[in-house]
Symmetry: C2
Subunit: 359 residues, 2 copies
């Protein structure tokens, strides 16, 4: 098992990474605040992993809230049902909410924990590659509203993140590969060594070899922990974690959420961001080829769907209007480094968006 | 104008107390984060105070959300309408939410500010005596759900609290006096000097003399600021601010919320807490008489409504179940001091609850 610390003073917490952790009482116990635990999960994950988790929680008063799978559960309506279950069970300020699932479950359950009685304890047990390397670490929680994704939420750090790599063995190939999109993001934007390691070891990662998995998950979580420790509430450096995401969000919004997985949209976004950076002279054109090759090796898309550059542009403006006054793009500047640009000329942006005009 | 600081390191903020502040642009401007302001208020307050506020905000992009009056607006449903207005106006992370009204508006708008884009700026402009001395200071925000009051919320400190005593001139007598219940609470529980000053100056306070008002509001806010600075998230000393509230909440729940004002229920709760403390030998019986006399001088009830001690008891158990494992009561121990007791014998508690059996 690997362990690392997310250093946030009084709110510091560990990320534990290993095989078979979900079923081990002694791994969970130190992070449960009182005697009451609410487990929030979805139908698919419950089928696979609830039994060992419940066995590990046999000493506690456990309530269960099993939701349908899917992004549409990240809503204020579903949030209300979590509060209802907490109230029905008379769970108080000492309850610990445990999220067993992917990013949707973690974001929803974490936001419920942030709000219940003005904040209770919370444990992340992420079961997808994407949530293990990204969503579960850093304390961002949220639900979607009709006007946009993640518009309503809280920063609420968990008591612990427990990433059990055994849960990755049951992931479908498409969903597994989507997680690799975020992993490549860390390499491209923050750590040339990780990017190069992925170039040499993609086969082992794709084969889900435990050693490679533990290593790469640890690596990504350590990178994220360092950024979050420096800028918990995203007033500065944390924005770099959004490399590829402005394009990715526009893709997701432009084709209606769900037809592409988030990590797939981010993958195409990474290629587009690198292409744009090359046009602006921030990176060598050679890097565009390396990014494209690594994404392809990971089974990920490198081009946006052919929905038209104009439509992508309008989706980016929508995002911009609601989330900040000005279009700010995170772009690579060399391998393993990135920065925010608020001054990208329209012509260069449009040239990259034209990738969505189709072949 | 009086000003004091609530010292919470990076989240420190001022409480400004004076006459005619609502209409002064230079008072508000330092606490507005960007160019966008959402004003949340209710119909009654809007009629009286919106015009000067809007004039003071003429340099900003202002949206307005005017709600019906009443506690039933403190709901997840109404919260959703606040998010809708923020989204419709494309308000981003730089928006400042300004709550113009009493505790209901402050709690609701503050919680909306805590959640919008994971937290935006917030200004409290309390317009009732109760919210000026209590609800607006300290960062507690919340909504009610069917299972109970304030069960869903956040700690979200405002950028500033701006208490304009001019707004108190339009309060009805009953609502004004309800605020005196919380003021007497500060004296009884935390500051003998305040209690004695109230004994000598209740006429001036009841006449709403500006000097007396500024003085007493400043005094209460300073007491609250000191407690909040020491224990922002109510893990210890902040619980003392709940003196009279366990009984008060049981009264409010027992007669269905709204027929007694919160401050009236707290007033009866203060008498009951002092009576119980006298039975337990924590205070002299003389103090029971002084508390009764001061509450009566303030036009407040000293006895619970005749709904039966058994009903009050069941309401306290309900509160207990959902908010903590054990019945914990804040009781005075001498004038100006108080502490939490978790060991009150049933017989003594029942004897005090019997006040609700009627004459």
């Amino acid at each position: 098992m690997h362990a690392l610390n997310v250093p946030l003073e009084a709110r510091s917490y560990p990320v534990l990474i290993g095989r078979g952790l979900v079923g081990r009482a002694e791994i969970l116990a130190p992070y449960i605040d009182g005697r009451q635990v609410l487990v929030v999960t979805d139908e698919v994950v419950a089928q696979l992993w609830l039994k060992p988790l419940r066995a590990a929680l046999s000493d506690y008063e456990v309530a269960l809230h099993v939701l349908p799978s899917g992004e549409d559960q990240k809503s204020l309506e579903t949030l209300t049902t979590v509060f209802d279950v907490l109230a029905e069970n008379h769970f108080n300020r000492d309850v610990t909410v445990l999220a067993l699932g992917g990013g949707v479950i973690g974001d929803l359950a974490g936001f419920a924990a942030a709000c219940w009685q003005r904040g209770v304890g919370f444990i992340q047990v992420p079961t997808t590659l994407l949530s293990q390397v990204d969503a579960a670490v850093g304390g961002k929680t949220a639900v979607n509203i009709p006007a946009g994704k993640n518009l309503v939420g809280a920063f609420h750090q968990p008591n612990a993140v427990i990433a059990d790599i055994a849960t990755l063995s049951t992931l479908g190939r498409k969903e597994y590969c989507a997680g690799l999109g975020e992993i490549i993001k860390y390499g491209l934007g923050l750590d040339a060594g990780l990017f190069e390691w992925l170039e040499s070891n993609m086969d082992a990662v794709l084969d889900r070899e435990p050693e490679a998995l533990e290593r790469v998950i640890y690596w990504c979580c350590a990178l994220k922990a360092a950024v979050v420790a420096e800028d918990e509430r995203e007033t500065g450096r944390r924005a770099l974690l959004n490399l590829g995401h402005s394009f990715g969000h526009a893709i997701e919004a432009g084709i209606s959420y769900g037809s592409w997985l988030h990590g797939e949209a981010v993958a195409a976004g990474l290629f587009m961001a690198t292409e744009l950076a090359a046009r602006l002279g921030m990176v060598d054109r050679e890097l565009v080829g390396r990014v494209e090759a690594l994404l392809e090796a990971a089974g990920l898309p490198t081009r946006p769907p052919p929905i038209g550059g104009a439509r992508l542009r309008s989706m980016m403006s929508m995002d911009k209007k609601i989330s900040s006054g000005q279009l700010r793009l995170v772009l690579p500047e060399g391998l393993g480094r990135s920065r925010v640009r608020a001054d990208v000329p329209d012509a260069d942006l449009d040239a990259v968006l034209a990738l969505a005009d189709g072949p």
